[in-house]
Symmetry: C2
Subunit: 314 residues, 2 copies
């Protein structure tokens, strides 16, 4: 068996554990950047991750009218950061690409660059809202990828919150699979119900079509303060009211959020397992506070242990 | 300690177990009515209930534009059915009263009738929607009850689904408590999230006011068929999509619904317990199919066992 990340993903394995981060700001002074890279490499090397996810951060001002709780600052290019700055980190990298800033020419060049890498992995992301003007659409991007980067293993994003509203996120997963996606990464999960509902509809649709479910990588992100909470809500992450109360009124919200994430994970893991959907995790910290980053490392370990324990049992 | 139902309610005890039913249709022939009464008395006597809830069924055509899945048929008066037809059943009776069909005169007469009973218990219900024309409001009814039926122990209804939308159901509970309600009965719970959210906001509000939480009696109702499911949805009961799928695609939906109800109950029971809210149950069958009624009896036993086991532990 191919034990690489790409091998596990194409074999639709359960239990894949990823860590996600955003590249540093483009304006970071060189010395500071060097120190960030050194810290991240050291931290990630100690974690035994299956792969690193590097996000492509957009302004998203078109998506929501409320002011962004943290100011938007352009970051380094995710592919450059993943493959050049973090070259020393041996783990496979999954690079996000928001295609709405691309022209066909810039995107094809990017695809060719990725296709030349060893075992390239990427997640393409469309416009953050229908109001944003996209120069190429996600559908165009998938078609160009098949043509210009046949070696690139593609993933898509899936947003359970969208399923809670329109009930068709499983159809988007199926459509993206048709277009070449072989795995899906969710946004941070705090809403068990919409996530289970998305997986339930997905499992039923897969059964009806007679195909196989692709791995769904669930993102988990600690929430240690009211500011982080409001930022996560701004990003579109849904918090059930009771859970938001737990975080708001906790003496130690960070510890509470870790326990909640772990319980949410176990509930969804068990649920997906019974329905034949391979599930993995992607742990991140949306905050750059040291305590929240350390909590994300702790959460990663806890969730990997949970997946390991369950895999041993079966 | 006063071990009667009224005593347990006013002491704000956890673990109260009720069974709920609607009176038979007014058009039931006398012989058939006699047989229904005999069956119900026999069934209920074997169940060791703390009390029987007798609903007041309204047409509710003003609440929703969709056609009612089962036709509406006027039923016997709940108080008459509870206290006269079911006189042989020794259990205390909680009688529902929809006050929107009352004039002040008819309601005061009803109050005086109840006040003359031994240990009277009632739940007053307002208009099913704001569009229905109420001849007396719920606020009027509470005021009249204080004046004309001081012995009547009053409860209110609480609807978690409303909390999911407007987030103020805990304030309605507090306002109804001010007006004299000493316990609350929910509608059938299939949506854990909105129920936990309502209890969470209620617990926080009670803590802030420095008062004590009133007992919340959670209603559970088996769902054994697509027709029952659509009727429950018509009644305003929310089913998360994944849970609806479980019921729709189950080989034995009735057994699945019992397991789901038990799991939902345990989750809410633990949650409420940690937050100092006394919780009880009210089990009903919205269907008159024999299998669903028998399943409700089985569910009642399971939930009482769950509450008994937990009470022994503390």
């Amino acid at each position: 068996m191919d034990n690489s990340l790409a091998g596990k993903l194409t074999a639709r394995s359960s239990g894949i554990s990823l860590y996600g981060l955003a590249p540093p700001k483009r304006a970071t002074p060189p010395e500071e950047l060097k120190s960030i890279v050194a810290q991240q490499v050291a931290r990630l090397q100690s974690m035994r991750i299956d792969g690193l996810v590097v996000y492509d951060i957009q302004d998203e001002a078109a998506r929501i009218s409320e002011p962004r709780p943290f100011p938007f600052m352009p970051t380094l290019d995710p592919a450059t950061y993943a493959h050049e700055h973090l070259e020393r980190l041996a783990a496979p990298k999954i690079v996000y690409r928001c295609v709405n800033r691309d022209t066909p020419e810039t995107f094809v060049q990017w695809l060719k660059d990725q296709d030349a890498r060893e075992s390239p992995l990427a997640v393409l992301v469309g416009a953050p809202s229908q109001r944003a003007e996209a120069s190429i659409s996600l559908a165009d991007a998938y078609a160009l990828a098949r043509q210009h980067a046949p070696r690139l293993l593609l993933g898509g994003i899936s947003i359970a919150e969208r399923h809670g509203k329109s009930g068709d996120e499983h159809e988007r997963i199926l459509a993206k699979t048709e277009r070449g996606c072989r795995f899906f990464i969710t946004q941070a999960v705090y809403d068990v119900t919409s996530t289970k509902s998305m997986l339930s509809d997905y499992a039923l649709a897969v059964r009806e079509k007679g195909g196989a479910a692709m791995p769904i990588i669930l993102t988990f992100s600690p929430c240690g303060s009211a500011k982080t909470l409001s930022f996560m809500k701004w990003l579109g992450i849904a918090f059930p009211r009771w859970l938001e109360n737990e975080l708001r009124f906790a003496e130690n919200p960070l510890a509470v959020s870790l326990d909640l994430c772990e319980r949410i994970f176990v509930e969804i893991w068990d649920y997906a397992h019974e329905r034949g959907i391979p599930v993995g995790v992607n742990v991140e910290s949306v905050s750059i506070r040291k305590s929240e980053i350390e909590a994300s490392v702790e959460l990663f370990k806890r969730l990997r242990r949970r997946m390991g324990a369950s895999a041993d049992e079966t």
